[in-house]
Structure formats: C-alpha cells, structure tokens
Amino acid sequence: MNELQFFVAASAIFFAIGVYGLLSKRNAVRILFSVEIIINAASLNIAAFARYMPYNLGNAQSIAIFVIALAAAEAAAGLALIIEAFRLRGSVDVEEMDELKG
C-alpha cells in the first residue's frame, strides 16, 4: 500500500464515523460533533492529496484553512442555536423539536 492510500483511508474512516454519528444520534450536541468530524475528515483528505500528488502545497493549505475557518463559523452559530433551543424547551433532543410538524 502506498502512503496516499493510507491517509485517504484514514480520512474515509473518520468520514464514516461522522456519518454514523449523524444518522444515529438524537442529541443536537452530538450531531454537531459528527458534523465537525466529517469536516475534519475532508480537510485531511485535501492535505493528503496535496502532499502526495505534486501540487502546490501553499494552495492546498489555504483551501484546508478555509475549510477549518468555515467549520469554526458553523460551530459558533450551531452552538448558539443549541443553547437557544435548550433555553426554550430545556432539552436538546432533535426528536422533540417538532413544533413545525403539521
């Protein structure tokens, strides 16, 4: 096996773990964790390809950095939403957030 394969497989493992969490958890905080894991897996993928395919390392790092910054913004907004939901109903279970159900 070559090195690129190893790192891409690592990123795939993280991605799969993230998808598992996203599908099976009902706690909003855990869902946020899963999203973070998925985003991190993506940035690892970018980094691995940049290192082992002869591309511009600077560009690859910038793109991964943008991914990270985006995820930071997402975490800030998501946490504020979760705290607000907790204030309104005293629970962060996404199954119970069904006010909009017809």
């Binding site: 950095i65 990270i68 910054a69 930071a72 975490a75 800030a76 504020a80 705290i83």
Partner: protein
C-alpha cells in the same frame, strides 16, 4: 523526520519528562500522605458554610459574546500572521486585505462589547 538529531525528538523527550514528573508527584502522596476520609472533609467547600441548594448552578451568559469574538479573532489573526510574515516583501500583497479584514471585524466587536455591558440583556 524522526531521530536523535532533530528537535522533535527532544521535544518528545521533554514532554515525557514533564508527564513523568507530574505523575510522580501525583503518586508520591499515595505512599507518604495519610488518607483519612470523612463525610465533612469531602463535602464541597464553601467558605465554612454548609453548601445550600444544588451543586451545579445555572449561571448568566453575560460574557458569552466575548467567547464568540475570541473565536472570530482567533481565525482572523492566523490570517494576519501570514500577512505580517510577508510584510517586508516590498509590499507585494499590499495592505488592502488586512485592512478589509479588520474593518469587517469591527461591527461585531462593537456590538458584542456594547451588549455585554448591559446585564439585563442576558
């Protein structure tokens, strides 16, 4: 990447030393110090009073905005570090981008600081 000639090797040695000395200090009192447990001693310490009410309390979120600002500035300053690194490159990249970044950050800063001063808002 990894060998006795490199700094990283010695970094790991240093970290291990710190870990070992910390754990050593943690282990020593198991042998030296007495351990006589009692209910009052292990109760929560609240300056001599009996702790009233629940142990964990809900607290006001008054300065939460500062934490959000911290996250925002953290990311931006990492960009500014790159700009500062290339500052002496004959002004190749100019001052437009950092100026724009800082200008973009100012409104949320003012908003958050203003809000955090009013206790009733939280």
């Amino acid at each position: 990447m990894f060998g006795p000639g490199q700094g990283l090797y010695w970094f790991i040695v240093f970290a291990l030393l710190a870990l070992i000395s910390g754990l050593l200090f943690l282990i020593i009192p198991f042998f030296l110090a007495p351990r006589r447990r009692s209910a009052i001693k292990e109760d929560t310490f609240e300056a001599g009073q009996l702790p009233p009410g629940a142990k964990r309390i809900r607290f006001a979120l008054q300065y939460y905005a500062y934490l959000l600002l911290f996250l925002l500035f953290d990311v931006t300053i990492m960009f500014l570090f790159v700009w500062a690194y290339s500052f002496f490159g004959e002004g190749r990249y100019g001052f437009a981008y950092p100026l724009a970044l800082i200008a973009v950050l100012l409104p949320p800063l003012i908003y958050a600081v203003k809000l955090s001063k009013i206790k009733e808002m939280w």
